[in-house]
């Protein structure tokens, strides 16, 4: 059975709804001044298992479904949703949201385009990919093997999360598309103690795949190894430096720099409204010519990837910055239409109960020409930041932060002492102009990113090669 029929079967059929009912709801929403309208159906299964103190002490399971109806007229949006997928309930919701547009009925277009797109992940159900006993055995094995790594380990916490989500989007242009989205995530946190001093280390990964992903090449055990390594490094760490200095960022997850410094600022809604520090800067130089940055929702199996976005638009590999020049923004349908461009497939929403808006998928910088070791050697005095926690940005002033969780001093071209975690702060439109070297070692993160915007969380990916930035503020305590 193809994806659209599978999704119709599991979302509409249990509630006695058919495709022609979607036409009825759409019909009741449309009027002369409507620019866009859609109905978003979603059903998701979620599970999580947590091991702590050597035992699998809890598991939880959740089933949710619902539908959201939206009418857009000019810059105005009316929105309602229901967790009951029933014709009468959705007709009532449609009637409410229609009030946003002025009255006057137009001829309505029946669903005539049932589209399918090549998928960037398999339509698998992670929850059923392992028996419950096998999930527990996996968590136990990670716990046992991780505890063997270091006698200073006080606690190991292992979590496993799986989501199986089905979505279907009907648009007033007559299109109906569906997607089946698996998502998995695993995480290992360890706490070490030495002479009364404690530190933690944490590592995880995930993908749009089933749990087999963690068994492949013993990835799950590698998370434990990496978590212990980080905790050991941090046990030795001295106070971080404070002030403006040259910083070398490692490959992979430090790409959170791009997500915060430029990614959010290049989302279409902020630029359409003129509230971003990047507003009106397309065609201008916003980075050194070594920098080419893309947002790519088409990478197979990646956490941030989507076959179609939540408005039914296929995702793309969108060039944001090419050789330092700002090329364009990430768009959803509403903001693209108002700015006179097409959606780039970045219209995303947390669930049927939230409105879509432009969001990132996988945001990364392409590889450059410098040997990563040469980049370190080029720095007389500075900081090498290898791992990060979260970040945040004020898109209007352009100021952004991201917090290093593993960092070292660079002295005379050599990585020397580990320093404590510190927050780095910079100015989005400026920071990439200070990139003076870009490594050959492009890497994407391990699949752990979650991005929050206006209270909505969505899974995302980031990546970059090793980068040298000639000056960013490091928020240590060692003045």
């Amino acid at each position: 059975m193809d994806i659209i029929n599978q999704v119709k079967h599991s979302i509409l059929s249990p509630y006695g709804m058919e495709e022609k009912d979607i036409d009825k709801i759409m019909d009741s929403m449309l009027s002369a001044t409507v620019d866009d309208a859609d109905i978003y159906f979603q059903a998701s299964h979620f599970e999580s298992w947590v091991l702590e103190g050597g035992i699998v002490k809890e598991g939880s399971h959740s089933i949710e479904q619902g539908a959201g109806v939206r009418v857009v007229s000019g810059e105005k949006t009316g929105f309602a949703y229901s967790d009951r997928i029933e014709l009468s309930v959705l007709l009532e919701a449609a009637k409410n949201v229609k009030a946003i547009a002025r009255q006057g009925q137009i001829a309505q277009k029946k669903i005539d385009k049932v589209a399918g797109y090549p998928s960037y992940y398999d339509a698998v159900n992670p929850l059923k990919s392992l028996a419950d006993q096998e999930k527990i055995a996996l968590l136990r094995r990670v716990d046992i093997e991780t505890r063997k790594l270091d006698s200073r380990i006080e606690e190991v916490i292992v979590s496993l999360v799986g989501v199986h989500e089905k979505v279907m989007v009907a648009n007033c242009d007559g299109s109906l598309v569906a997607d089946i989205r698996p998502l998995t995530r695993m995480n290992v946190t360890v706490i070490l103690e030495e002479n009364g001093q404690r530190e933690q280390g944490s590592m995880g990964g995930g993908a749009r795949s089933d749990y087999g992903y963690f068994l492949d090449q013993d990835k799950a055990l590698q998370y434990g190894v990496e978590a212990v390594r980080q905790a050991v490094v941090n046990l030795q760490a001295i106070d971080a430096p404070a002030g403006n200095m040259t910083v070398v960022l490692g490959p992979g997850w430090p790409g959170i720099l791009l997500h915060e410094a430029i990614g959010h600022g290049l989302e279409g809604d902020f630029n359409r409204k003129g509230t971003s520090a990047f507003s009106g800067k397309v065609g201008e130089k916003v980075a050194s010519e070594l920098c080419t940055v893309v947002d790519d929702g088409t990478l197979p199996g990646r956490r941030g990837s989507l076959t179609i976005d939540d408005e039914g638009v296929p995702t793309e590999n969108t060039v944001l910055i090419e050789k330092g020049i700002l090329k364009g923004y990430m768009q959803d349908r509403l903001n693209g239409r108002l700015m006179g461009v097409k959606s780039t497939g970045n219209g995303r929403r947390e669930s049927y109960a939230h409105l879509p808006m432009p969001r990132m998928t996988n945001t990364y910088m392409l590889a450059g020409k410098h040997d990563p070791e040469e980049i370190i050697k080029s720095v007389k005095k500075g900081l090498y930041a290898k791992n990060f926690g979260g970040g945040q940005v004020d898109i209007t002033s352009g100021k952004f932060v991201f917090s290093a969780s593993e960092a070292y001093l660079i002295e005379d071209g050599k990585i020397t002492r580990a320093v404590k975690g510190a927050t780095l702060i910079g100015n989005g439109p400026e920071v990439l102009t200070k990139v003076s070297m870009v490594g050959t070692d492009l890497a994407l993160d391990s699949g752990v990113g979650t991005c929050g915007k206006e209270g909505q969380s969505v899974p995302v990916g980031v990546g970059q090669p090793t980068l040298r930035i000639d000056g960013i503020t490091v928020g240590g305590t060692s003045v």
Binding site: G59, S62, T477
Partner: protein, 443 residues
């Protein structure tokens, strides 16, 4: 006015979940349910931008088979769904490990008194009236000054919810509550540089909200004050946390004395009970039964009675923040904090905000923090900040693109005073907090 008929209908559903759990082999169970309806409208640049009708429902059950635990939830309230949800929870409980500390709270800890906390004030407002309020709020902000150049809009939110909690010890309670807010965020521009700031008011009762125009004017004033911000050179100096960011400082303390951080040994305040963690003049206490307050509750997330109590007296830590599970792990008794603290209050000194500035004398006033940057195991603290440079008790100019750093253990001990400019919008109620010295990194 509580809608008793609806509450009783939902109580019956929760009882069904508990009965079904027993039928399916659970030795004990806890079940909860919530229903929330609301309206959110936003106006931007003098026009309505969005109208959202919210309607959410969820039910969840936690079952125990002996000392094994399993949980499951859904948003489908049909009888079939209830059976399936219980089945999923029981299945998980069949696979999870025996945990000696797992289980319901002890019967005698459960709440038996349910005073009216005056937290339910329905706001009978149509979308069109809500739009008018949002328009008035945004207009007040935009018309304040020519440098207010753009807007993220003004939003009016009104929500009413019902929640019901029950367990197999016979606890079954429910109640209705409301939450309304008005917020506004505008952008200012000077010399090609933009700044944005916001203000909001939130209350159980719409009548108690600040007026729409006052909220708009405050949002605009805050934005204007930030125009022309500059960085600081790297230095050490005293730091004054304004009331709205001071709540976060105390939030980190709550995290560090929470049961789950303690039994995992992932807290920088391990074994700190009965020791001096704050200066002698400081008291922090919980007030769960305040009328109309946002954090009020007569029972916690497990049905355990909440109680007014001191957490810190004269700077000495008196008690932890525990659920029945974390309490058992630590060999203690639950403090009625499953789900968090209730109106945690930091007692104020004599100083109003201006007196706090005078006491700061020369140093940094922080009004916004960015990023996480708190290591809960070691207490190491480093966050992005913006605010104002202050000299001789007078604000000199706005600052941005700086970090403030230290270690929370030292920062708490070096608190110099707490202002009486309390921010009541948070579940943590504190005035501004002055810290003797921190590291500032800048240009």
């Amino acid at each position: 006015m509580q809608n008793n008929e609806e509450i009783n209908r939902l109580k019956n559903l929760v009882q069904d979940l508990l009965d079904e759990s027993r039928k399916q082999g659970a030795t004990s169970a806890e079940a909860g349910l919530s229903l929330d309806k609301g309206l959110a409208v936003t106006a931007r640049l003098g026009e309505v931008e969005t109208i959202e009708y919210h309607c959410d429902q969820a039910l969840g059950v936690t079952v125990y088979r002996g000392k094994r635990k399993g949980s499951s939830s859904t948003n489908d309230f049909s009888p079939d769904s209830i059976r399936e949800t219980v089945k999923a929870a029981c299945s998980i409980a069949g696979f999870s490990s025996e945990d000696d500390y797992a289980g319901l709270p002890e019967q005698h800890m459960l709440a038996t008194q349910f005073p009216d906390l005056d937290n339910n004030h329905a706001w009978d407002i149509e979308a069109s009236s809500a739009i008018d309020i949002a328009l008035e709020c945004e207009e007040a902000a935009r018309s304040l000054h020519v440098e207010i150049s753009n807007s993220e809009g003004a939003t009016v939110n009104s929500h009413q919810g019902i929640s019901v909690l029950g367990n197999s010890l016979g606890f079954l309670q429910g109640g209705q509550s409301t939450r309304h807010s008005i917020s506004c965020s505008v952008i200012g521009e000077r010399d090609g540089n933009m700044q944005r700031d916001y203000w909001y008011s939130v209350s159980r009762n719409a009548q108690a909200l600040e007026s729409a125009s006052d909220i708009g004017i405050k949002a605009a004033q805050r934005t204007l004050q930030r125009l022309g911000a500059q960085s600081l050179s790297t230095r050490q100096c005293p730091v004054l946390y304004s009331a709205e960011v001071a709540a976060g400082l105390i939030g980190s303390l709550v995290g560090a004395i929470s049961g789950s951080s303690l039994y995992r040994k992932s807290s920088f305040l391990l074994d700190a009970l009965d020791t001096q963690i704050l200066p002698e003049f400081m008291r922090i206490h919980e007030q769960p039964h305040l009328q109309m307050a946002l954090g009020s509750a007569s029972y916690d997330g497990e049905g355990v009675a909440t109680q007014a109590r001191d957490i810190v007296t004269a700077g000495v830590l008196q008690g932890y923040v525990l659920s029945s599970y974390s309490a058992r792990k630590l060999g203690m008794k639950t403090t009625g904090n499953a789900g968090g603290v209730h109106n945690l209050t930091v007692d104020s000194g004599e100083n109003d905000f201006n007196a706090m500035l005078k006491q700061l004398n020369t140093g940094l006033l922080v009004t916004e923090l960015m990023g996480q940057g708190v290591n809960r195991v070691t207490g190491d603290y480093s966050r992005g900040a913006s605010g104002f440079w202050v000299e001789n008790g007078e604000i000199q100019y706005p600052v941005e693109e700086i970090t403030v750093a230290g270690n929370l253990k030292d920062m708490y001990k070096n608190i110099v005073s707490v202002g009486n400019d309390v921010d009541y919008r948070s579940n943590i109620r504190t005035g501004s907090i002055l810290i003797e010295q921190m590291s500032i990194a800048g240009e």
